[in-house]
Amino acid sequence: MTDITLVEAVNLALMHEMEHDPEMVVLGQDIGVNGGVFRATVGLLEKFGNERVLDTPLAENMIAGTAVGMAVQGLHPVAEIQFMGFIYPAIDQMVSHASRMRNRTRGRLSCPMVLRAPYGGGIHAPEHHSESTEAMFAHIPGIRVVIPSSPTRAYGLLLAAIRDPDPVVFLEPKRVYRLMKQAVEDNGEALPLDTCFVLRPGSDITLVSWGAMLHETQQAAEQLAGEGIDAEVIDLATIKPIDMQTILESVGRTGRCVIVQEAARTCSVSAEIAARLAEEGLMSLFAPIRRVTGFDTVMPMFRLEGHYMPGTERIVQAVRQTMEFA
């Protein structure tokens, strides 16, 4: 068991499941010989052949629609969209079909597909390569949206996503692809979906985040610990559906909450969490909920992306303000 990166963990999970599930296929652009532009699918073609590892023509709407058809027919397709900035043509298939097949046929047909995409900023990529629009998917009933934030969770959550009988949008924080390594055992054990992970227990304030922003959030928690503020850090992990139980329980203890996301603010996942806290947890709040988010601006090109993305400092600042609230 060697230490591996998040993108290697994605690859490991794909490898594992391809080996054990003959109904699984992967499809997308450049995922074959090239092994994916981030190398997430490297080695799959060599091992499983071009019957199961399918380089597609360049058409995201078609990739999603084809995956829907495969899945309805009982295969377990894992489709890659090369960057989240190119996922929009695939939305129609997700909202109009993937999410509805089971419901509209009262269970006669279903759609066990995974739509994977690297997402998020921070790697100085060209225009359209740094998107975080998970909220658009989180609004769609009938699908799941899952975001890992570490190699172990990438491995376990991706296995769970592939085995899930319903459609899952699986977003990989590309800034974390090679940011850190963890020991990941290739034991085929999935992690549960629909549940948060408490990464750091704490008693003073609850910090909720997901994807790449967890790293800033954890750094902020460390820094705050030095200031005597004991923050609980929760990895949301499954963005839809949201495990509010864990969050409410935590905020019930701490009375304070800061939500951290990279995405634009309006109608985002942080809005939903804050709204639910305001509905269901209002009486346990000692201070207003704060959201540390990307701005409601177009994700700027990379010379300014550092100014767009919430950094440790903004999180620390928000926590201090929340703690100071009397």
């Binding site: 597609t56 084809t66 079909h97 089971r102 009262r106």
Partner: protein, 358 residues
């Protein structure tokens, strides 16, 4: 240096509008059983359409799309398919669906606003009606891939309209079908209108069949009001696909003798003359005349058929009208394989509300 590559699209017809054959007929034209099956489906479909429109007029179902005048396409496609094949329909393929395992009660449930219409387990792998235009075409490619991957001797038939050929989905689907050599036949019901938009405004291409050239696959045009041509050429394409010969695009030229749906008034945008001219091309009398000329059909058979069809339809309509209302909570119960925790509360709130309304 100059070089020229050429492509072609063929048009096929066996029966003239008056039912007279032209040129050599295919063997099926001599097979009374096949002809009767085609004819029966067309007549049944037409009677079903009529009945459904009446149900809509009396508020017993919602918006409904008739296939009046286009019955030869449904019949030909339905008959050409094997039971194990998979149909991926749009919303105007009443005849094709009735040829397969869809029952009138299923279709009425669907148009009556009830998801149970697409739930009949006998439907097997057949796809539900697809309302968003051409979004089913790429799905058809995925299904065809699955069949090929499993080396099953099955074929997918995907139906769409002339308007549907304008959407990128259609092009992306035929392109993939070509690139992956999929067992997939696309049948375009070119009924010459997409609601109020005539074929001439959809595209400058002389035929819709030639769109297949963009995907490097064969495209043919057939007289979609000639049931023998539809049955023959669709079967040919299906069996070619079954044998590994890859996809085909078939443009079946027909005409929408009805309004777009019950929500539409076609007199707003097309002339009576045009409509009348196309009535003469009606596929139902065409096949009837052909059979009659060959002594394969009698007035008595006709009246028995109509009586039987009507009786069956009435029985089905009654089934539909008697169906218990859907349970409100069913909108939750089939959303996921297992209802996520956070939705229990929403489902509960619906139940509480319902019971307090009692």
């Amino acid at each position: 240096m100059n070089q020229t590559t050429t492509f072609s699209v063929e048009y096929h017809r066996f029966l003239r509008p008056d039912g007279e054959p032209e040129g050599d007929l295919p063997p099926l034209a001599d097979d009374a059983e096949t002809l009767h099956a085609l004819y029966k489906n067309m007549v049944f479909t037409r009677l079903y359409d009529e009945r459904a429109i009446a149900l809509q007029r009396t508020g017993q179902i919602g918006t409904f799309a008739s296939s009046l005048g286009q019955e030869a396409i449904g019949a030909g496609v339905g008959h050409a398919m094997q039971p194990e094949d998979i149909i991926i329909p749009s919303f105007r393929e009443n005849g094709a669906l009735l040829f397969r395992r869809f029952r009138v009660r299923d279709l009425l449930l669907y148009w009556g606003g009830d998801e149970r219409g697409m739930a009949n387990p006998d439907l097997g792998d057949d796809f539900p009606i697809c309302v968003p235009i051409s979004t089913h075409t790429t799905q058809a490619a995925g299904v065809a891939f699955a069949i090929k991957y499993r080396q099953q001797p099955r074929v997918v038939v995907c139906l769409l309209g002339d308007g549907g050929t304008s959407k990128g989905d259609f092009y992306e689907a035929i392109n993939l079908a070509g690139a992956w050599n999929l067992p997939l036949v696309f049948v375009i019901n070119n009924n010459q209108w997409a609601i109020s938009v005539p074929r001439s405004l959809q595209t400058k291409s002389e035929t819709l069949a030639q769109k297949a050239i963009a995907a490097g696959i064969p495209g043919i045009q057939i007289d979609g009001n000639d049931p023998i041509a539809v049955r023959h050429h669709v079967a040919e394409a299906i069996e070619k696909a079954r044998g590994g010969g890859g996809p085909t695009v078939i443009e079946a030229i027909s005409y929408r003798l009805c309004h777009h749906t019950t929500a539409d008034d076609a007199t707003r945008y097309r002339s009576d003359e045009e409509l009348e001219a196309h009535r003469k091309l009606d596929p139902v009398p065409r096949l009837k005349r052909f059979m009659e000329a060959r002594q394969l059909w009698s007035d008595e058979q006709e009246s028995v058929l109509i009586r039987d069809c009507k009786a069956e339809i009435e029985q089905e309509v009654q089934h539909y009208l008697d169906s218990a209302p859907p349970k409100p909570e069913s909108m939750f119960d089939w959303l996921y394989a297992e209802l996520p925790q956070e939705l229990h509360q929403q489902r509960q709130s619906l139940l509480v509300r319902e019971s307090s309304n009692d």
